[in-house]
């Protein structure tokens, strides 16, 4: 079969990092960093999901096509978010309640 059997050690290491990052993200949320709070939270979340994707989902050991699928999905999500937010950030009017 296609599978690439990883040593269990890798799974445990990734698990430990993920748990640590969860604690880290909670801890950071209680510090006052201004707008950096959101950025930090998102950075940690992205980091965690990259680990899950690369190791738990074996993408690191997968064919290029799988990489293309993963990157493609993020790219299209980016199109949705960027072009939609582009409108909201440049509207001259303001919302009200």
């Amino acid at each position: 079969m296609t599978g690439h059997v990883l040593p269990k050690r890798i799974y445990y290491t990734i698990f430990a990092i993920l748990m640590f990052c969860t604690l880290l993200t909670v801890w950071i949320a209680f510090l006052d960093l201004g707008p950096l709070n959101t950025i930090a939270a998102l950075t940690i979340a992205v980091f965690k999901s990259v680990l899950v994707i690369l190791f738990f989902m074996h993408v690191k050991y997968s064919p290029r096509l799988t990489w293309a699928v993963v990157i493609g999905s993020v790219f299209w999500l980016g199109i949705l978010l960027v072009l939609t937010m582009g409108d909201y950030l440049t509207r001259e009017w303001r919302h009200y309640g």
Binding site: M1, T2, G3, V5, L6, K8, Y11, Y12, I14, F15, L18, M19, T22, L23, T25, V26, A29, F30, L31, D32, L33, N37, T38, A41, L42, I44, A45, K48, S49, V52, I53, F55, F56, M57, L65, T66, V69, V70, G72, S73, V74, W76, L77, L80, L81, T84, M85, Y88, H95, G97
Partner: protein
Amino acid sequence: MPDVTHHPALAHQFDSLAQQSEATTLGMWVFLVTEVLFFGGLFATYAIYRGWYPDAFAAASHELDVTLGAINTAVLITSSLTMALAVHAAQLGQRKALMVFLAVTMILGAAFLGIKSVEYYHKFVEHHIPGPSFQFEIRISPNDGGNPPGKLADVELLKAHVQIFFSLYFVMTGLHAVHMVIGIGIMLVMLWLAWRGTITDEYYSPIEISGLYWHFVDIVWIFLFPLLYLIGRHAH
């Protein structure tokens, strides 16, 4: 890996188990792409309203229980580990270990849903379910300007915006929970396949693609947790 042409699990349209496994794995990945964009619509909605109503979102986020949220995150990550170990066991043809890990994964998934329902119940008791009976008592000042909460005049508007947060909270976590339920159902089928002995070190792609799905649901939560539970926590 030898090319097995007459394996009982080989469907007629494929030439080999390898081709079949590649095809089903790709199919699951493509399905996950649709899932990314499905949740993507919600994340876009979230981004816009959080940008518009940062104070209301912060005030509403304070109503969520960080401890339960964090515990649930840990539960899900652990379930992802056991899922990865289940795939590992399947790859090595360790049927017993596979069944144990699948079962543990299911139990952790169920635990997640249990904790989630406790949270939902709290929200129900506190009337934080959007709709006519929605109630919200402002505990922090939306402007951080040191105004005593009771003196805020436009509580009604803040309430409407808080309600948008809770609407998003319920839609996002609700759809996530639906995915968890489906995931547990898949695990049940996998457990049955493993018990029947269908899963072998030659044919384990059902376990592999179920694992992809499970990890994806985990990733969604990895984003939901900070986005919903951890807004403006430093204020108090």
